[in-house]
Assembly symmetry: D2
Homo-oligomer: 157 residues x 4
């Protein structure tokens, strides 16, 4: 993830710098503590208010009994992107529910990326859509998550 | 998982022994190849036609940025139980879609178990309900999966 | 729906009479105003705290372009049963989200019933499972709803 | 819905005329038999391969016990748009499952429209996203449907 100081002043002014800083600091705090994403080699490629892009390489220890990437780990990548996007306002927010449609298998060695976009937010609830694609741009899964803001700040959890 | 030979002849006769053997052999074949479940320490406690029970201990490397078990790994446990139950007839079957409701957080050290039950099966499609509970019997998550039979046998994949 | 006064004192004492009265009065208030359920001939067969049973006959004007009952009307029956069960504590509660799996078609003349059961309730949120069956007891659809309590009383809305 | 003959030859050549004719004829055949959509005053505004736009006015007999449009009827509008889009290739296709998130209430007199877009299609399965908005363009609900092609032609069912 680009560090806040990589943003020039001009870029900062163009894109609501405070909101962007909040999003980046929330992601940094969240993923510094996220041992599960680290174990799976999940990387944050970028984050903006309500949006995030993460990546994961399908390792040999990630395949299931059908010799394809375990659906739970595809879900986990998408869920981490969901967390980055729904916590991007700096307020602690967790998943209440999620659904996933598996469109195509992923294989050992595939480079998966997950793009999270906010669909809606109101009160303590939000909806996020995450698309997981492989290195060829083929869609692997569509994930939709419902978030619930629990109070408190991501930075000081 | 209890080995087929642990079943007495009497038990075998009571519970459709061939179907039970098929279920156990399918689970053995499936989990022998399932590197992801192995990486996460997921254990098969039991399997019957259309049913399965699996367990996973929440390790320090399984928590997320909110210091609770990553929802993706709770999903993965449930998804492995789903796989064990929907492949229990010996025919290769994969997840087409799934949804999960997170009811309560799980913490480092928790012993989670996932109980899978078949709700419905028709043609190539099936629906399975998986309940994830912790060591106190508290429900952590409810998972529902839609399966799709792809043809071929689990044993010879 | 049985009127409260149909309950004998003995029955009342057996089953937490106040909670039962609250459930029945909430259903009465709700369905007195529910013009949509009335238009579709939906009847409340019974209600208890967290539970409800409703029925609907598939009329000629309820079929879709495939000459089977329109899935939206099967959903509507289930959704009304969901409303009766999640409002059964007397506090105004609405649907936040729902999902449905269609298991078998329903036909003109079928007598459908929807049985709603509470799966979980915490804070302002709840989960309810509704099973729709036909007159032969065959399952037509499985519906799961997530409720959100909005504050205020069902009786005085 | 625009009748095929309203398309000029030039337009026809620009937009794969055969596929467009198939989509329009499928919608005509489907909605000629769809008594439920007719009962609810649902109108087809337009259809293309994989896409459809429908409308419904919230009548006094469409409100529920909370004096807002019954969620089941919002679902029904979306489900009819789903049917128009997933049957637009002329092959008989039904809903296997669907989920809906309710974002904002709709009120008596509101003019709702449902826009259906195909997300994915493979073999006999497809995924469609339907957005329901009111006359102000406010989003009322997001619907996602999974379709299953059952064989046979829409025109000759």
């Amino acid at each position: 993830m680009a560090h806040p100081k990589d943003l020039t002043a001009a870029e900062g002014q163009r894109t609501a710098p405070d909101a962007q800083l909040v999003a980046e600091r929330a992601a940094e705090a969240l993923f510094a503590r996220d041992m599960a994403s680290r174990m799976l080699g999940i990387r944050v490629l970028g984050v903006k208010p309500g949006h995030a892009r993460l990546a994961m390489t399908v390792r040999p220890d990630m395949v299931n009994g059908h010799r394809i990437c375990h659906g739970g780990l595809i879900f986990t990548l998408a869920d981490s992107a969901f967390a980055a996007s729904c916590n991007s306002y700096g307020e602690s927010t967790v998943a209440a529910a999620a659904s996933i449609d598996f469109l195509a298998p992923a294989f050992e060695g595939d480079e998966l990326s997950a793009e999270a976009n906010e669909l809606w937010r109101s009160g303590r609830s939000g909806l996020y859509e995450i698309t997981v694609t492989n290195q060829s741009g083929e869609r692997i899964a569509l994930f939709r998550g419902r978030s619930h803001r629990i109070g408190g700040s991501v930075s000081t959890e």
